[in-house]
């Protein structure tokens, strides 16, 4: 394993790769969802992963912090091979923040407690320190006044911003976003995207699975288009979204921009992401 890491390091030239995915395969039973993914994300880079439902983009993201166990291949985060069976995955996950489509705030805790409990239990911070970091991050996402509220009393957009603050409070090197705005009412999407934009400007390394093309175009350094478990095309947003080379990318984008043009039976069954 050590030799592998060394080779990986010598191979790359510019900027340390924060995330490195190598020949990643993932099957659910007979269904091969990822069919060999190679991807590299440098420090401070914002990469948006787009593609139709069932293309494997969420699965790819979940493989990066091992919420899904890859069937084959390697994933490196900050130089550590997390797919190594001997690695302490809990320690690695502390460095990777994850934001879910369904927010997944802890409903039995207040907003502040949602932020402080993981810090205290996982990072062993003392009470005062955890409270300070929590307040700081709530301030950052513009929800300082909701500190004592329970998640159920917040709007979806507010809940998602708390979820982002909760992940940030752990001081992650990388943030993963799994369709962070897909469960939101359209008018609430903007606040969440604004927070993500701010993070990107602050230099956070981000991997974002999204359907928000405007966000991808404006914020992403690179856009990755996936379909059928492979990366079809990747590059600068202006190229992938503005002038896609592949027919599949063009097709996907045209349907996304004008859903009314889709023909009957063309849209694949939505995979139940919330249930997984």
């Amino acid at each position: 394993m050590t030799t592998n890491t060394e080779t990986a390091n010598t191979e790359t030239t510019a900027g340390a790769p924060e995330i490195r995915v190598r020949d990643l395969h993932k099957s659910f039973g007979d269904n091969e969802v990822l069919r060999g993914i190679d991807l590299e994300i440098r420090q401070g880079e914002v990469v948006c992963v787009i593609g139709p439902s069932g293309s494997g983009k969420s699965t790819l993201l979940r493989c990066v912090n091992l919420l899904e166990e890859p069937t084959q291949g390697q994933v490196f985060v900050g130089g550590t091979e997390i797919t190594d069976p001997d690695v302490d995955i809990d320690a690695v996950r502390r460095r990777i923040g994850m934001v879910f489509q369904q927010f997944n705030l802890f409903p039995h805790l207040t907003v502040t407690e949602n932020l402080t409990l993981p810090q205290r239990r996982v990072l062993k911070r003392d009470k005062a320190e955890a409270a300070r970091v929590a307040a700081e991050n709530l301030q950052r996402v513009g929800l300082a006044e909701k500190a004592t509220a329970y998640p159920s009393s917040l709007s979806g957009g507010q809940q998602q911003r708390v979820a982002i603050a909760r992940a940030l409070a752990m001081g992650p090197e990388v943030m993963l976003f799994d369709e962070p705005t897909s469960a939101l009412d359209p008018e609430l999407v903007g606040d969440v995207l604004a927070v993500m934009r701010m993070l990107a400007n602050d230099g956070m390394t981000m991997m974002v699975v999204t359907h928000e093309m405007t966000f991808a175009r404006e914020v992403a350094d690179r856009v990755v288009f996936m379909d059928g478990g492979v990366i079809v095309e990747e590059g600068a947003p202006a190229q992938v979204i503005g002038a896609p080379r592949h027919e599949r990318t063009r097709h996907f984008l045209s349907r996304l921009l004008d859903p009314a043009t889709a023909e009957v039976g063309e849209t694949p069954e939505r995979m139940d992401k919330a249930g997984r």
Binding site: D90, F100, Q102, P118, A163, R166
Partner: protein, 295 residues
């Protein structure tokens, strides 16, 4: 199965409509009763039957005999304060110790049932099936007789109290394990994923995030379990207890045979209700509250 059901439903619906339209269009006043009048008549008939049944009971029962046998106030008076300070106290003590033991064991069995290690799952499954399938009385006899035989020289700590806690605990643990398992599984999967992605280990996430939520979900069924245990504690009757260890049922029965009168049974019964009825009320309140709070 479902097909026949829907078929049947459709059929009845059809006959009803045809009858209704036929009645309305062709012979609107054939029976001389509107639908509302029919309903009122039917309800009136039910009242009549009820009143008749109560009256028949009241007339035929031997009230004097009943009063003599069940409601001798001086006999009932004699039972106090012992029935409260001794019998009810012991019943509560047995129940609580059995509940605590069952809760701890049930929690372990529930976690085993959800384990990724096969043998744990099977062992927990077998335990649950066996102890839910056996009469509590049989388990009491088993605890009293078989345990000292199987482990000679061992005395169950706590004497009768220990035996009762063990017997009640073994039975209730099986039910509680299933309740707790259902509670844990009712917590959305995203909660565990969120906790794990924050760096919690599986065990720590279980303790800090999942269990507190599952616990809230299972409070009403657990309180129900407490009511059941409270009643099952009466099985101590068959364990052979000292005078000091008697609980409500035993206390009532002993006094009943001493005095050749059933009044003590009635009083003991009222003491049970004194606890079970308020607890049942609490369960319904908790359930209503839980229903309101569903996210």
């Amino acid at each position: 199965m479902s097909e026949t059901k829907t078929g049947k439903k459709g059929k009845t619906g059809e006959t009803e409509t045809t009858e209704a339209t036929a009645g309305a269009q062709l012979q609107p006043r054939r029976r001389g009763l509107t639908r509302r009048q029919k309903r009122a008549a039917s309800r009136g008939l039910q009242y009549v039957v009820f009143v008749a049944a109560v009256a028949a009971l009241a007339v035929t029962a031997d009230w004097g005999g009943l009063r003599n046998q069940f409601a001798q106030s001086d006999l009932a008076g004699q039972m106090f304060p012992d029935i409260i300070t001794l019998a009810l106290k012991n019943t509560v003590l047995y129940t609580v110790s059995g509940f605590v033991f069952g809760l701890v064991l049930g929690m372990v069995v529930a976690l085993m049932r959800l384990s990724s290690v096969g043998p744990y799952r099977w062992a927990a499954g077998i335990y649950i099936e066996v102890f839910r399938g056996l009469p509590a009385l049989l388990i009491f006899i088993f605890v009293a007789v078989a345990v000292p035989l199987a482990f000679p020289g061992t005395e169950i700590p706590g004497g009768t109290y220990g035996k009762v806690a063990l017997g009640l605990g073994l039975v209730s643990a099986a039910y509680m394990a299933e309740t707790i398992r259902a509670g844990i599984q009712a917590v959305p999967k995203g909660q565990m994923e969120a906790a794990r992605s924050l760096g919690f280990s599986h065990a720590r996430a279980m303790v800090s995030i999942i269990m507190p939520q599952a616990f809230r979900i299972v409070i009403p069924p657990m309180t129900n379990q407490l009511v059941l245990l409270f009643k099952d504690s009466s099985l101590v009757l068959f364990l052979g207890v000292t005078l000091e260890e008697r609980e409500l049922a035993k206390f009532g029965r002993d006094l009943a045979s001493q005095t050749a009168n059933s009044t003590p049974i009635l009083v003991a019964g009222l003491c049970y209700l004194l606890v079970t009825v308020p607890l049942g009320f609490v369960v319904r309140r908790l359930e209503a509250k839980a229903g309101e709070a569903t996210r």
